[in-house]
Point group: C2
Chain length 419, copies 2
């Protein structure tokens, strides 16, 4: 007995890769990489490019109040909740061509395959590009997906302002006006998808180091963000004996030693990063009076995060080199575990192409919000040296092609497509 | 047998303290403290105030090419090298009323005493206020004294520019024109003093903690300034496992641990300060790719500095958390030991008022340059909590009065004055 070819088998790899390259020219930086900040000209042009692809395929394109763009393929029963596939087209200021875009173009490739193969399925299929995932121009990110999933209100989102004083609201109005002028359909309502699938680059080194073209993402790590402040006393670096100092730098150094020792007991899924560390007044010959620093702490287990959270708070109550410490929690995002049934479908799809592997995502994705309203799961494709948010971000075509076929196969299984 | 009263006995403490308060009004900040940046309006007004004091005493005032102001009292033999006493009148942007000014006004008080008591002495006596000791407006500082002692050329000094683009040269020309307009005598030549004495606030906590009103300063610590650079690799804080990181912050943290352990073996005269510590790119969720930090290292012994210098260079050759390190020496100033004969004169003068103590100065002073051309020594008066370079800088009148009497006695001894 031979299995019938799966949907991914029919996917046109050349066309998929050509699409990936074509979108990468919109907002391209001179040398390599691209700058497509949320709702800027390039980002809006990328929306129009996506709409044009849908229309040339004979699908319809829609947009909603947040500028999220949907490509719609009708199913036999138009009242069934659509299967939703996608990611985002916006980038960091000096970003790469794949973070987000790969997942949108992969969705488009699945849509193209369904269309070209004239596949019939019961429920509609939609490809989405979410507005402002990066949060690089308007913070925080994941605007479109968090609004769609009901996690954040439109009023909150559109009140954000970029570095030049332009509000999200103004930029959004321009984007919506452009889409309207191109006669794209405006859709008034949000909906609850049947399921959401997102292919994304890993933004880490694991797949590359294991030589794998794709893996299943089982969830998204929880993240706690902290701000530490250590307060001592400024004084003259030359005249103040060690015994009379309350050196905030030394206090911070001792505190960091204790923090590192606290996290050293955790397993290797823990991520601990001190990304900001500022010393005041910041003069070569003045003893620092204040240090402020941040901690980015991530782990798939809420219990592990809670233990460390309690330990950090205990450490903040002590004195460090005679200095007082203060700890603020600036953000807590609980770990998300993706839908087990959906993960099993992805596992099965991966197994046709590659040894199976599940990873937790260390980065946020739009999927974190969708997971709260519908079965959600993700696939990762490897990126070179784990680099992202940088023009050097690079994906091998051979890997991306496997990943997109896995995505197509999974979509086919969810749609009960037989080929 | 009863000793004759010394010169300090005749010093008018009320007048001295009134002068200290009067100069503190020139450039006073609204609340307390003062802003008298080198060669600004307030600093120039302070020069004129000093000149006016000399003239009302019947002494002559002079200035030289760098705007240093000298008050001159003639001796029996005008060709003998003058005894020089003084400090500086410029301040930090939010400085105190005593750092520098106390020493100038103390010199003035000695001059006043000699004049009022009609004391005869062989060699001339001069009181000096050096231009731009602080280096707060034009870096580096000690401009007037370093030029006077031949350590730096006028061309080098006047090429400095302040934060608003005004050159030292322009500011100096304005100052000299003002002095000329007031018919102050311009003096074309520098000279080698018989000796230089400087009274200054300690800018440290030792005298206050020991309850002493004054002490002898035996020299100025040597200072090495270093810049460290630690280079790792920026990466995503969420997706990069610990094993794949080259975190420049962790590298810098480990390096600082090693540096602290290296200096822990030194005696308690060592001063070790990390005053700047910058993390790039400085984002909460990005693994730092670079840390730059400075070290201010001071000790009275060149040998101790040399041992640590070699150790720092050894540490810079190692890798730290997978990151490379680079060490630059940005400045080296050798320790200065003051003139032993002069110190003995000061010790004897102190002993009439207070238990004897000698301290090394941890801060730079104009005396460091004078010490290279003539016998030089200093006295310290205590300042509250060791605070300086701050409006809270405070000196108790009772301490300052003892210190200025000691200065007067020492001057009397050097001039072989009998009263």
């Amino acid at each position: 007995m031979t299995d019938a070819p799966t949907l991914g088998y029919y996917l046109d790899g050349d066309r998929f890769w050509a699409d990936v390259q074509e979108q990468a020219r919109i907002g391209a930086l001179r040398d390599r990489g691209l700058c497509r900040l949320a709702l800027d000209d390039a980002d809006n042009q990328a929306r129009l490019w996506l709409v044009a692809q849908a229309e040339s395929l004979g699908c319809t394109a829609h947009y909603d109040d947040l500028g999220n763009v949907f490509l719609h393929r009708e199913g036999r029963h138009s009242t069934l909740a659509p299967l939703l596939i996608g990611s985002h087209l916006d980038s960091q200021p000096r970003g790469g061509a794949y973070d987000g875009a790969l997942g949108v173009v992969a969705g488009l490739a699945v849509l193209r395959t369904l269309q070209e193969q004239q596949v019939r399925h019961d429920r509609p299929v939609e490809v989405v590009s979410w507005t402002n995932e990066e949060g690089a121009r308007f913070a925080p990110g994941a605007s479109g997906s968090s609004w769609f999933a009901g996690a954040r209100s439109q009023d909150t989102i559109v009140s954000a302002t970029d570095g030049e004083g332009t509000s999200f609201e103004e930029a959004l109005e321009e984007c919506l006006a452009l889409l309207e002028s191109k006669r794209v359909h405006r859709r008034p309502a949000r909906y609850v998808p049947h399921a959401f699938l997102e292919l994304h680059i890993e933004q880490g080194p694991v797949l590359e180091s294991r030589g794998l073209p794709v893996c299943v993402v089982s969830g998204i790590q929880g993240v706690n963000w902290y701000g530490f402040e250590i307060n001592g006393e400024a004084n003259h670096a030359g005249t103040t004996p060690a015994s009379a100092r309350r050196d905030a730098f030394l206090g911070a150094h001792d505190l960091v030693t204790a923090l590192r020792s606290a996290v050293a007991n955790a397993d290797d899924e823990l991520r601990f990063t001190i990304g900001k560390f500022a010393v005041l007044p910041g003069s070569v010959n003045t003893i620092p009076e204040r240090v402020t620093c941040t901690i980015d702490l991530r782990h798939p287990s809420q219990a592990v995060l809670d233990v460390l959270d309690a330990e950090f708070h205990r450490l903040a109550e002590r004195k460090w080199a005679g200095c007082t410490a203060r700890l603020d929690v600036s953000s807590r995002v609980a770990p998300v575990a993706f839908d087990e049934t959906l993960l099993a479908v992805l596992d099965a799809s991966v197994s046709n192409y590659s040894p199976p592997l599940r990873l937790m995502s260390g980065a946020f994705h739009d999927a974190i919000h969708l997971a709260r309203i519908c079965p959600t799961a993700m696939l990762f494709a490897p990126c070179r040296n784990g680099i992202s948010h940088h023009p050097d971000e690079h994906v091998e075509r051979v890997d991306a092609e496997v990943a997109v076929r896995v995505l197509a196969d999974a979509a086919g299984r969810l749609l009960h497509v037989t080929t």
